[in-house]
Symmetry: C2
């Protein structure tokens, strides 16, 4: 196609493809029809249809965490963005680059305030690290390149590019060229020297890490720091970490504030790298919000905009830390027996998970035992829910599987969490995604039963109990999965789970195991 | 409980109950635990758990359309609001009063920017007709009363009341008392006289109506206007209309702009009452956005803030229009035979729908035949998707059934639309809601296949075709419904549909019929 015949939609998608973008998670409507046919012509981009926008945004997040570059989403005006908004929130908290292309009414049509009209800049602004509207056909390519770059920083995250229908359909689009990507900041030599000095004076120094520090390189530096006497702790929830046999395993910040505070007792210096000072997930009456022991000094070595792997390396070098790897051994548990619970699931996952698998963790109160047991499993990547908006696990797994079709993906989800975006199962089948989903079926929002007591909200009466229990009716996850074409089984014993999970690991394609566990 | 011991959560819910609010559609999280136990103590409010926030907001919309007063929703911070946001958008377009209570972090906790923190005022502001945050425990009751009143106007719609966790848990809440509700505006006598004069001079005057004009009273006045020579047309999509035998049936604005324009040809005066000038749902290349014939004069008799039923009555009186009722007869079609399609579904619905039923219409391209055939069915209420964000039909039906447990509710949904909020089926079972859901299963976004051609986006290639087809895998709606406890059947012939629908009308409780229709 000759350059001068490009529509705005063509210019937008081709510019993104020129920059290396190759995946689009879409839920289109009438105002996006020209984008749909432009995607048809732009064969470098693979389009994946999602039946709900929360699946599209969650999948784009999972894609980027694994591929290391953003995917685009295709959303239908403000309402489509809202449907995808919670997983955009999660992605912003993971600092995942993502390009949300939000179709809008033609510019001249906006003033009539037709039914689907809304203030998209207003709605989408708060969770976008960059937002603009391509109100002329000429601007489409240029803004696509700008959006691509902006998704990488200064702080990486979701960007929103609004595309009015007329900018999409008119000819006269121009490609925006290759975007200059921003570089992450680096901690200065002065700051590193200051940190080294503070560590030298401290009795019990700790460093809290996230970001690039959780890559293989970053963790190698972290192991050296630990050997030099610095306790290394990760945020409770992080975007992705390399784990398992052969990899250094830092400690993990505890979820509950009281646990975290007792774990940190005695620490007199807290450095943070690639994150910020730790705060409790929620506030509780009479409990502290900031999880820093009294009298503990703090030092910021750079937040999400800073390459924390390089920070750790520079600090280890400055301290003259020995090159000690401290890798986890490969150690697989015995086959679990008896009652099925999260511990038994964890044992099976650790036993059968193949090398280089990817775990998407939205398992809420049942995750921790699986997390702990896999510390000595085959090396793998572990992705977490960073923004607290449950319903991310299945979409994230879908996106990861599209990014890495040769790797096994394991999705952990609570039954409450899984219901938010159950439509992801359909896209898994359509794409032949190699995802094994484990649903912890306990027919309750178990975490809320715990939190009800922790917040001191009083003894629950029948209405309150009803609000936390998702039985009556029990959800039949096998029927639900099969309704969308996913091969599924429900198991109630550790032995049956182990057999079903091993089978899933030895075959390919979407599977679901409903793990019936205590509530 | 003594007044001085009220928590902020108690004050909030009790104030709403004092104002007559009696239903809450909830999806709580940790920050809402004190609201949950306050709802436990406030027995005047019935709480309905929803597994996804889009179900909660859509149900609150359906509830208010039938009950004539707002329900509250209970949402978990900004992310919870986002999940419910599309159906809040739809409710705003229906001008439905709704009180979204959005839990937030404790005020002092916000500054730590914990994972679920977000700019709730920013996110929720655009689709709220009123939004405030109760940042002190003392303000909770007062703001609850203010929120209740604001949901009724000046223009009625969804309001957002943000409740920080500490305002909820602290004692010292005070009830806000009974709110003074705003009155709807009335068209002035001068305006009515002006309208009468313009009608007298016009050859082919039409009046476009929405709002209270669609109640039994409003339609009675509309019938008189028609008898006096004024063509009466409703908006294409409206909040609710009384219809069927014994009720006057106005014309309906066509959905597609070219149809609407050809239908309006010759009109030389367009009055609007309870709405605004008609605009095309979407813009199309080279087609007009405003659906007013060239040279046609327009006159605004008041928008959504004005009591359009009173406008019609005043106009009919001023014109000396005779008191002619022009009711639709009761006429039920014969049993449909042969291939199942939307026309056959419409015949069965018209045959078997009981008196005073409620229809929730999210049937997209398959709705019109059912709409037309029921014009002479038993008298009923018909609720529409007003904001264009599909996925409203099932939640709306759930809310209507909670508002009117003694009335039969019929939900029409496309298969694409139904997937957005399929979790509504679970709440229907839990509540024993008397909803019969008809899913038009054609395995495609059929409307988009039509729109693709209308927008001139070109011939679809394989990727574009894939983006519009939701087969591969086909969704098995019977399994899906049964997974959440709904009795379901799939039918492929008109005879089988008629039998299944008649059976559903003669029994009670949630049912689902998957109507397999051509794509």
């Amino acid at each position: 196609m000759a350059e001068q015949k490009l529509t705005g939609a063509d210019a937008l998608v081709s510019t993104l493809a020129d920059n290396g973008l190759d995946a689009c998670f879409a839920n289109p409507g009438t105002s996006e029809m020209h984008l749909v046919t432009a995607l048809d012509r732009e064969t470098r981009i693979k389009s994946v249809l999602c039946l709900f926008e929360g699946v599209a945004t969650g999948a784009a997040d999972g894609y980027a965490r694994i591929a290391g570059k953003p995917a685009m989403t295709l959303l239908h005006l403000g309402a489509g963005y809202l449907n995808g908004g919670a997983n955009v929130h999660n992605a912003k908290r993971a600092h995942t680059p993502m390009i949300n292309v939000i179709g809008d009414h033609a510019v001249d049509h906006r003033k009539y305030d037709a039914p689907l009209n809304s203030d998209i800049i207003g709605l989408a602004g708060p969770n976008s690290v960059w937002i603009k509207s391509a109100d002329t056909v000429k601007s489409t390519g240029k803004l696509a390149a700008e959006a691509f770059a902006a998704s990488f920083g200064p702080v990486s995250g979701p960007v929103s590019l609004i595309l009015p229908a007329d900018s999409a359909w008119e000819e006269g689009g121009e490609r925006g060229g290759k975007a200059q990507l921003p570089q992450m900041r680096q901690a200065s030599a002065e700051l590193i020297a200051e940190a080294k000095e503070a560590i030298g004076k401290a009795k019990a120094p700790v460093i809290l890490i996230n970001g690039t520090a959780l890559t293989e390189q970053g963790l190698a530096a972290a192991a050296r720091l630990k050997a030099a006497g610095l306790r290394v702790i990760t945020d409770t929830f992080y975007w992705k970490m390399r784990r398992g046999a052969g990899v250094f395993a830092p400690d993990r910040m505890q979820y509950f504030a009281e646990g975290a505070m007792s774990d940190l007792e005695g620490a007199d210096l807290m450095l943070v790298a690639g994150t910020s000072l730790p705060a409790a997930f929620f506030a509780y009456p009479g409990k502290p919000s900031l999880l820093v022991p009294e009298g503990c000094k703090t030092m910021n070595l750079g937040g999400a905009d800073t390459d924390s792997a390089k920070t750790l390396l520079a600090l280890a070098d400055a301290m003259g830390a020995a090159d000690i790897a401290d890798p986890m051994p490969l150690r697989k548990p015995d086959a679990p027996k008896g009652e099925l619970n999260a511990g038994a699931v964890g044992a099976s996952v650790a036993r059968h998970m193949p090398e280089n698998a990817i775990v998407s963790d939205d398992g809420v109160s049942n995750s921790l035992p699986v997390f702990l047991s896999t510390m000595t499993a085959e090396p793998h990547d572990w992705m977490m829910l960073t923004g607290g908006a449950i319903g991310q696990g299945l979409p994230l797994a879908l996106g990861a599987a599209v990014a890495a079709p040769d790797r096994k993906v394991i999705a952990l989800t609570g039954d409450g969490a899984g219901m938010y975006t159950n439509q992801a199962l359909w896209s898994m089948v359509r794409e032949g995604a190699d995802v094994t989903t484990i649903v912890f079926v306990n027919h309750t929002y178990r975490i809320l039963n715990i939190e009800l007591h922790r917040t001191g909200a009083g003894n629950p009466g029948p209405t309150a109990k009803d609000m936390l229990a998702i039985g009556e009716p029990d959800i039949d996850w096998v029927s639900l999965a099969e309704s969308m074409g996913v091969e599924a089984t429900a198991v109630t014993t550790a032995e049956d789970f182990d057999e079903a999970f091993e089978k899933a690991m030895k075959s390919s394609g979407p599977k679901l195991i409903a793990a019936i566990v205590p509530g």
